[in-house]
């Protein structure tokens, strides 16, 4: 029982559902309470204890269906049924389609009573006999026991399929089957028998392979995806392929949420501040100085104000997508964010980001604003005209761009103004530091007027920089 439950938890983890130890204990106790006999009851008991949100619940139910879907061999067409085997093969499918509700209990009971002897001993029957008689229920049972014995639940990568398929077949008694086939071949009397056995072996292989594939889908999805995610995190943003964009959205969204959560908590330390003694005394003078009414000094909650300005020109095209994506995600978390995008003039995109879902918003901004011929000078002039008044000592200015100005005027003096007015100016540049100032890059001119100027070209960079930024921000608040 316990082993089955543990396998089920493994399968859940395989589907990206994090099951805490606490929930596992609850689930085990719940199963003790409701028992294994009623499938729907078991399902809802496991769902209630393991899933913590609606989507988790749907996922949990889905995994339940796949996990407690009992494997059955589909043999009756493959092996030309010999007359005496007729009833057996007739019983096979009916067994397989029997109300699945009973099956967990049945197979569990069998596994328990089968004892440690395991599979080869099973019902005492040779594999070949089982195959030839088409006893699909017994075969399925033996396959599961074999899988349990070799630890199929550890499978997590598709290249392991072959290995596990072979191991399961061996545990089911492939060796003796092979021997029997060899014997049958040598005996010229029974060519028919040998042929049937070979066919049976092929079917066995196909069935086991199918089974392993299903289990791989059950246990192996999340670890593989995790591996892929780790790869995406550290990969240069320009090298990420279009097909991974959707995955990146999720990663970036999670990151933005994490950052916002970590740093917004610290902000709201205490709304009710200290006792305002003067006010309290003054107000209570009427009560003979006895303090019936108290007044508290309210603490002003400092909300971070962020103005983000993002270059979407051709030279940073590959990065721009992710930077916009990040801005969009950040906008959902940070209360006061204004976003701008530019190529050669400044465009306010806050509205677009607020009203549209992420994919559309990013595409729309890229289309509307993107292009070639960056003009940082003009953009800085725009900032000077449109934005400078709004930037005060509580504002953080975040600039994302490569500072490649096409040999235009740098207008670093506006950067200086920004630097003097804002709490912080942060410049994230996708180019490595060694390239700053080479060619038409004006980064060397801008960098002195930034509190932080950093290279930033992978998601990990982005997270680290922003984490440091937000931490510094709240510490100085």
């Amino acid at each position: 029982m316990q082993a089955t439950l543990e396998d089920f938890f493994k399968a859940l983890r395989g589907s990206d559902l994090d099951v805490s130890l606490n929930a596992q204990v609850d689930a085990a106790r719940a199963v003790q309470l409701v028992g294994w006999s009623d499938r729907t009851l078991l399902k809802s008991a496991l769902g209630a204890t393991l899933a913590k949100t609606i989507s988790d619940r749907a996922l949990c139910d889905d995994v339940f269906e796949r996990f407690f879907h009992f494997e059955s061999f589909d043999f009756e067409k493959a092996l030309a049924p010999q007359p005496p085997a007729e009833p057996a093969s007739g019983a096979g499918p009916s067994e397989a389609t029997a109300p699945p509700g009973d099956e967990p209990a049945k197979s569990q009971g069998a596994a328990g009573s089968g004892g440690s002897g395991g599979c080869r001993g099973g019902g005492g029957q040779a594999l070949s006999q089982l195959l030839l008689s088409g006893d699909s229920a017994a075969l399925a049972k033996r396959m599961q026991e074999a899988a349990r014995e070799i630890g199929l639940t550890d499978i997590w990568f598709f290249t392991q399929k072959g290995y596990y398929t072979l191991k399961i077949q061996q545990a089911m008694g492939l060796e003796s089957l092979e021997r029997e086939i060899a014997d049958a071949r040598r005996q010229t009397l029974a060519p028919e028998h040998a042929r049937r056995l070979e066919l049976a072996r092929k079917r066995l292989y196909a069935e086991v392979r199918n089974y392993v594939e299903r289990k791989l889908a059950l246990y192996g999805t999340a670890p593989t995806r995790q591996l892929h995610d780790d790869f995406l995190l550290s990969q240069r943003l320009s090298n990420i392929e279009a097909r991974d964009f959707a995955r990146m959205h999720v990663i970036v969204y999670k990151m933005a949420k994490r950052l916002a959560e970590r740093h917004s908590r610290r902000k709201k330390r205490r709304v009710r501040g200290q006792l305002d003694f003067r006010r309290t005394l003054r107000k209570n003078a009427a009560y003979d100085g006895v303090m019936f009414e108290t007044f508290w000094r309210a603490k002003v909650v400092d909300r971070p104000r962020v103005v983000a300005i993002c270059d979407v020109s051709g030279s940073v095209r590959q990065y721009a997508r992710f930077l916009l994506l990040f801005l969009h995600s950040l906008g959902e978390q940070v209360s006061d964010l204004r976003s701008f995008a530019f190529t050669n003039h400044l465009v306010d995109v806050s509205e677009t980001f607020e009203s549209l879902p992420v994919e559309q918003a990013v595409d729309k901004v890229m289309q509307a604003v993107g292009g070639s011929g960056t003009d940082y000078g003009q953009v800085l002039l725009d900032i000077h005209e449109q934005l400078l008044d709004d930037i005060g000592r509580r504002t953080t200015v975040l600039i994302l761009g490569d500072a490649r100005n096409n040999r235009g005027e740098a207008r670093a003096e506006i950067m200086q103004l920004l630097y003097q007015r804002a709490r912080r100016v942060i410049w994230l540049n996708p180019e490595p530091v060694a390239f700053w100032g080479l060619g038409d890059s004006e980064m060397k001119h801008y960098a002195p007027y930034c509190h932080i100027a950093r290279e930033c070209n992978s998601i990990m960079h982005l997270e680290r920089t922003l984490d440091a930024l937000l931490r510094a921000h709240s510490a100085s608040a």
Binding site: S20, D26, V34, L41, A48, K52, V290
Partner: protein, 322 residues
């Protein structure tokens, strides 16, 4: 700390029947979650659209166990002093004023400040004792002799700070009051938390609870609920009404009608002595179960089609049962 041993429930079905006995028709999922929450002594976080009976569930549970229901409505700005306890500051002040003379008497004979303080210390925590404590819902819930059902309503409306404060209560059924020490529940209360999903609850909170999502009911369940809640309703009207509401829920509405609205509408129709749904009747009573002008308009447009479909569904159901 005791827990409820009596009455205990043998199985999920027994609990479902007990719910039915107090006129709460629980689906299997609901009954399972409550059964588990009861037996594992875990709070239940109930989510779902407004009006599907989240609060009713807690009330029904209190009725079954025959214990008081203590309800704590959450809102933004709710804090410890409103949820747990508060010192009766005014009363403390008043008493010190009234007892001024007594204090003087007590102090008589004490020489010097130190000696006076010593006298006072002999009566130290007089003003911070249970007499001056204003118990709020959580405190009350922990103090019930026979246990209770604690309903933390709309927990998603509270601040994250308050949510963190709830954690101690939910996992250990105890709270710490600096002046009094740790207060443990006399009998572990059955806790329900309801949420309308206006914000996501923290993982820590979710981990301590069983999760129960109550969706809009299936037609069969909704018919059973109506049978219970609106006794005089004819079977035919019940079928038509439920089929109609189910059809309306398929529309793209701002606020879909839920069970409470279905019940209201059924009561209305009963008052009007209706036998069947007719176009005019539905049109006149739309506002009973649709709460927005826009919703009423869009339903009104499709009324004939909806009504036709509802009649068909009701007939199909009737035929399959006959």
């Amino acid at each position: 700390m005791k827990s409820f041993h009596q009455p205990h429930f043998d199985s999920v079905d027994v609990l479902a029947r007990r719910f039915a006995a107090v006129d709460y028709i629980a689906s299997r999922g609901i009954a399972t979650a409550v059964y588990l929450g009861f037996n594992l002594e875990k709070p239940i976080l109930v989510e779902g659209p407004a009006g599907v009976g989240k609060t009713e569930l807690a009330k029904a549970m209190a009725q079954i166990l025959d214990v008081p229901l203590i309800r704590m409505q959450c809102y933004e700005g709710l804090d410890e002093s409103k949820a747990l306890y508060e010192w009766k500051y005014g009363k403390q002040m008043l008493y010190t004023q009234l007892l001024k003379d007594k204090l003087g008497e007590m102090m008589a004979g004490a020489i010097g400040l130190a000696a006076s303080m010593e006298r006072l210390h002999a009566h130290d925590d007089l003003f911070f004792s249970a007499h001056f404590l204003e118990p709020r819902p959580l405190y009350q819930a922990l103090h019930q002799e026979r246990g209770c059902v604690l309903l933390v309503d709309e927990v998603d409306k509270s601040d994250p700070e308050f949510e963190a404060f709830l954690l101690e209560v939910l996992s250990d059924f105890q709270v710490s009051v600096p002046e009094l020490g740790t207060i443990k529940a006399k009998v572990k209360p059955i806790v329900f938390l309801t949420s309308n999903n206006t914000r996501e609850m923290s993982d820590a909170l979710k981990r301590r609870c069983l999760h129960l999502h109550i969706p809009f009911p299936e037609p069969a369940l909704e018919r059973r609920i109506l049978e219970r809640r609106v006794p005089g309703l004819s079977a035919a009207l019940n079928r038509e009404l439920v089929a109609f509401i189910q059809a309306v829920r398929q529309l793209d509405l701002k606020k879909q009608p839920s069970i409470s609205e279905t019940i209201d509408w059924a009561k209305t129709l009963l008052l009007l002595n209706a036998e069947h749904l007719s176009l005019d009747l539905v049109r006149e009573t739309l506002n009973v179960f649709l709460k927005f002008e826009g919703d009423i308009d869009s339903a009104d447009e499709q009324l004939p089609a909806l009504l036709n479909q509802a009649r068909k569904d009701a007939e199909i159901h009737h035929a399959s049962h006959a």
